[in-house]
């Protein structure tokens, strides 16, 4: 058996061999995760809450990164289904930080404009961060309205609003937090660092 077929990943009836040898180092650098240490034991996948619903599982994703399958990885639905629950890193015998790897892959996926068409998570994240940049704190009513308008999911959970209002679960107006200028500077300075891992 030659080395590349030994390392190959199998997914949806397809076989993935080594493509871009430098990709793994790029992801390691962006995430701080030691991907070379992965033993492919599958412990992360057994505990992963979304592995059962996805075509991908965390240890297979790590293998695809090792194999330099950039497009397959960055356009995968799985990186946007990962709930950041930290079960993978907690149970990994090699302490491979798969959760941090996924954070890095999400950023790289956006930078490369490869985001899977089925997810709206990036839209949600952008609105969330814009809200706290402007107000300092989350304002749920504003967040939900912007998200619905941006995604066209106008009717999703509309039945929840009257109930949440009646139960006092929604603040009608955002809280005022002082320090707007300072906050703006913080976002600008962090942004200038280019979204790279510090």
């Amino acid at each position: 058996m030659n080395q590349s077929s030994h390392l190959a990943a199998h997914l949806d009836g397809r076989v993935f061999e080594l493509a871009e040898p430098d990709f793994a180092a790029e992801v390691e650098h962006a995430s701080g995760a030691n991907l070379a240490a992965c033993l492919q034991c599958g412990k992360c996948s057994s505990g992963c809450p979304v592995a059962a619903r996805s075509n991908l599982r965390p240890h297979v994703l790590v293998r695809l990164v090792q194999l330099g399958q950039r497009d397959e990885v960055l356009s995968s639905r799985f990186i946007w289904e990962c709930t950041s629950c930290q079960t993978c890193i907690t149970r990994c015998p090699q302490k491979v930080d798969v959760a941090a790897m996924n954070d890095a892959l999400r950023r790289m996926s956006r930078e490369a404009a490869k985001v899977c068409g089925e997810t709206t998570v990036p839209v949600f994240n952008d609105i969330f961060l814009r809200t706290i940049r402007r107000l300092g704190r989350m304002y749920e009513m504003g967040l939900m309205t912007s998200y619905k308008l941006r995604t066209g999911r106008l009717m999703a959970d509309v039945d929840k609003f009257p109930m949440m209002l009646a139960k006092g679960k929604l603040a009608l107006l955002p809280k005022k937090v002082r320090g707007a200028a300072e906050r703006k500077k913080l976002f600008e300075r962090a942004g200038r660092a280019g979204g790279k891992k510090p």
């Binding site: 709930t83 709206t120 139960k167 976002f187 962090a190 660092a193 891992k197 510090p198």
Partner: protein, 287 residues
């Protein structure tokens, strides 16, 4: 020990009952929890998925404003982000420098952070809590649900056993309730995907609810606004999609403790719960 409180954004919105019950219980225990002045959002999942430096700088800003006091959080997600910021900033000089550049001043990553459960069990102490119990919740079988971010990863949070935490069980036991041994204490509820990918949340919360019922629970007790909201509010959707009606009240631990301390349901925000807890509480002679 003196504390300052980091309520987090949810406690001003969907989890106002968590805020109210926290203040009521803290007041009754003589625990002062003044808010950090002008605290800002921890950045939550949106920040760590988007910008690693911002994800550390946002919590660091509030931590630096704590004046050296222990920062107490109630939300598991805030707790996780505050702890992560401290962990990353204190272990690496280059990270500390970059966060300082973003903040405009240095922060050493050393402001102590505790979840309210840790404060109750480790600082106030169970004997002191037991001494305040006026209405023990005898016979109430509770499934304590911790979710992901209190105990994981243990190297960052140092909360409790990562697979079988027991701090909330201890508080519920002090309140006279019967915490159950069950396997889904730290399974994920799907968290913020409730908005972007509700299918994930329905599947995961259904598993948690189903396991709680199989374990014989009368109710679930939580320590996180998103866990509570997902488990409570999504029961209707689970019934519509899967034809399974659970009818399990989902409390915050502060509400359970407050009831046992003799506080009134109105002081604990029980009206905000979606699944009405009053029939269960009446059947158990609590109200």
């Amino acid at each position: 020990m003196s504390y300052v409180f980091f309520p987090g954004c949810s406690l001003e919105g969907t989890a106002r009952d968590f805020h109210q019950s926290t203040m009521a219980v803290a007041g009754a225990l003589g625990l002062a929890l003044p808010e950090i002045p002008d605290w800002i959002c921890c950045g939550s999942t949106a920040a760590h998925q988007s910008d690693p430096l911002l994800a550390l700088a946002l919590p660091a800003k509030s931590l630096a404003a704590a004046g050296g006091n222990t920062v107490v959080a109630c939300c598991a997600a805030c707790y996780s982000r505050l702890k992560t910021a401290n962990h990353e900033i204190s272990k690496d000089a280059a990270t500390r420098r970059k966060v300082a550049e973003a903040l405009g001043h240095d922060y050493d990553g050393k402001t102590p952070v505790a979840h309210l459960l840790e404060v109750l069990v480790r600082d106030v102490g169970l004997p002191a809590i037991a001494a305040r119990i006026k209405r023990p919740l005898e016979g109430l079988k509770v499934a304590c649900y911790y979710g992901c971010l209190l105990s994981r990863p243990p190297e960052v949070t140092g909360f409790d056993d990562a697979e079988n935490p027991t701090l909330m069980d201890a508080v519920c036991k002090a309140a006279g309730a019967t915490p159950l041994d069950w396997p889904h204490k730290t399974e994920c509820c799907g968290a913020s995907y409730s908005i972007t990918d509700p299918g994930i949340v329905l599947d995961l919360t259904r598993e948690i609810l189903s396991m709680a019922r199989a374990a014989g629970a009368d109710c679930i007790v939580t320590a996180c606004p998103l866990c509570q909201l997902n488990l409570d509010m999504r029961q209707k959707d689970i019934e519509a999609k899967f034809g399974e009606a659970y009818g399990l009240p989902v409390f915050y631990f502060t509400q359970v403790l407050g009831l046992a301390m003799g506080l009134a349901p109105e002081q604990l925000g029980l009206k905000s719960l979606v699944v009405d807890p009053m029939p269960l509480l009446a059947a158990n002679g609590v109200v």
